[in-house]
């Protein structure tokens, strides 16, 4: 049976792994020893996860988001499962929002990303409380605010990478 023209092409291994690799790279950036008086860099892996969930949700299945969250837990010293649960929740919500919203302008995309990032902060607080840790709400909210400010830049990078993948036939475009 011939393939219909509206069925998407199967991605090459490089294209299939690119979202996961970029998010993992963002997690490694968070583990850098930057001398700051207070913690709370922008949550780069979460920004990339929200962006990729709207652009290419099929390339980040739930189990991949969970494993990426576990990696971030191990890198930042959080109890295992905190970011794992948060990433899965954000991935599900991001996939739903991306599949139903269709094409969006910059402001709409920013608002949608901000809502998902705040939801991720809420997931993180709930998961920390469930794990028996004391929840530092001001630090998490500051980190969420910085992430929201940086979200358009992260989304622009993801969109550009996705266009290059779509244009390059060798990479499954």
């Amino acid at each position: 049976m011939s393939r219909s023209i509206d069925q998407p092409a199967l991605p090459s291994p490089v294209a299939a792994l690119l979202p996961v690799l970029t998010i993992a790279g963002g997690a490694l950036v968070l583990a850098l020893p930057l001398p700051m008086a207070m913690g709370g860099l922008p949550m780069l892996p979460l920004i990339l996860l929200v962006a990729w969930s709207g652009v290419q949700p099929r390339l980040i299945p739930g189990w991949a988001a969970f494993l990426l969250g576990l990696l971030l837990d191990a890198l930042t010293g959080l109890p295992l499962g905190v970011m794992g649960a948060s990433f899965v929740g954000v991935r599900v919500m991001g996939g739903l929002a991306g599949s139903r919203a269709g094409g969006r302008g910059l402001l709409e995309e920013w608002l949608a990303g901000a809502a998902l990032l705040m939801a991720a902060a809420a997931f993180q607080m709930a998961a920390l409380a469930l794990a028996g840790n004391v929840v530092a709400a001001p630090g998490l909210l500051v980190q969420a605010a910085l992430s929201i400010l940086l979200y358009p830049a992260g989304f622009a990078i993801v969109a550009r990478v996705n266009r290059k993948l779509a244009d390059n036939p060798d990479l499954g475009g």
Binding site: P33, L41, T76, G77, L78, P79, A127, A136, P138
Partner: protein
């Protein structure tokens, strides 16, 4: 022909094609798998609440992988910092020499005044046969603070199990207490800093002797939790908090923080050790190691003693009261 479009027929419109059914089944399977993953994540969180040591090995192993990269990245930063310190020292040499000489003279006066008091204290301790635990240095290593998460405040230490580092050991900087060791790998470890929201250090006010807890908040300052009803004086800005030795983990007398807001409820204090410039940390053994139970032989079984029924004592007959006297 679009294979995905539903086929209408005698049995009603919208009969799903095989592709549509496959997509639906895949979506259901994906939703089920996501639910299972979420349930597993929640289980991990509950296990972490019951057993906080869960995942310590994994975090320690990741720390081992990151430690060489961290040291490589910090090498130029430390080099620039050392160069700046040398230049600053060179420019301020004369002034610093005068200050050092004055401080030395003051210290010599203080030593002479306290020598007699120390001698009396030693005699008193000898009379009481007082045993004072000694501090034991395990290893000294370079530390770098991590700033990636707003939920925790930690640092990585370039020493691990191979160097004798164990969890819960205190980490001490030149300025005072920096924190305690949490996760340990083979060649590196994580240190929970004082400003971590989960950090709790038993402290006392050096001037008055009041005891309390220095609690981290995730921000720069600590909270000093103490019972104000038991205070006989007011807390002042500039009061120093030192470890009290309660709990047996941190040795007493280590500088911890300085009160910056005495009127707050609770008062706030600024840690003396800055996370942005940790430098070299000394890891020491816990001041009072936990008592090791001594094995004793089990008690021998005793045979049951026969129960002898007790006979109640006879009640004495009432004595007649004498009549009134004429």
């Amino acid at each position: 022909m679009n294979d995905r479009a539903p086929i209408s027929g005698r049995w009603g419109a919208g009969r799903r094609t095989s592709f549509a059914r496959r997509d639906l089944n895949l979506a259901l399977a994906g939703a089920l798998l996501t639910g299972v993953i979420l349930a597993f994540a929640l289980l991990l969180l509950i296990l972490a609440r019951v057993n906080p040591e869960l995942g310590a090995r994994a975090r320690g192993a990741v720390s081992d992988v990151l430690s060489p990269v961290t040291r490589l990245i910090m090498a130029p930063v430390n080099g620039v910092r050392a160069l700046a310190d040398r230049v600053g020292d060179h420019l301020d040499t004369v002034d610093k020499l005068r200050e050092t000489e004055e401080a030395l003279r003051a210290a010599e006066r203080s030593v002479k005044e306290s020598a007699a008091a120390r001698a009396e204290l030693r005699e008193a301790e000898a009379l009481l046969k007082l045993r004072r635990p000694e501090r034991r240095l395990v290893v000294s290593a370079q530390a770098s603070a991590l700033s990636g998460s707003g939920a925790v405040r930690q640092a990585t230490l370039a020493a691990g199990l191979r160097h004798g580092v164990q969890p819960r050991m205190p980490a001490i900087a030149a300025e005072g207490l920096a924190g305690r060791v949490t996760d340990v790998g083979l060649i590196s470890a994580r240190v929970m800093l004082l400003s971590d929201p989960n950090s709790r250090v038993p402290v006392q006010v050096e001037r008055t002797g009041w005891t309390g807890i220095a609690a981290g908040t995730g921000e720069v300052d600590l909270l000093f939790l103490f019972d104000p009803a038991s205070a006989t004086d007011a807390l002042r800005v500039g009061d120093r908090l030192v470890t009290s030795g309660d709990g047996g983990l941190f040795p007493p007398g280590l500088p911890v923080a300085i009160i910056t807001d005495a009127g707050g409820s609770p008062p706030r204090a600024r840690p003396l050790v800055r996370p942005a410039a940790l430098g070299v940390l000394s890891i020491e053994a816990p001041w009072l190691p936990p008592a090791e139970p001594v094995a004793t032989a089990p008690a021998a079984d005793e045979p049951d003693q026969p129960v002898v029924p007790t006979v109640p004592a006879p009640v004495a007959a009432p004595v007649a009261s004498p009549g009134p006297t004429p």
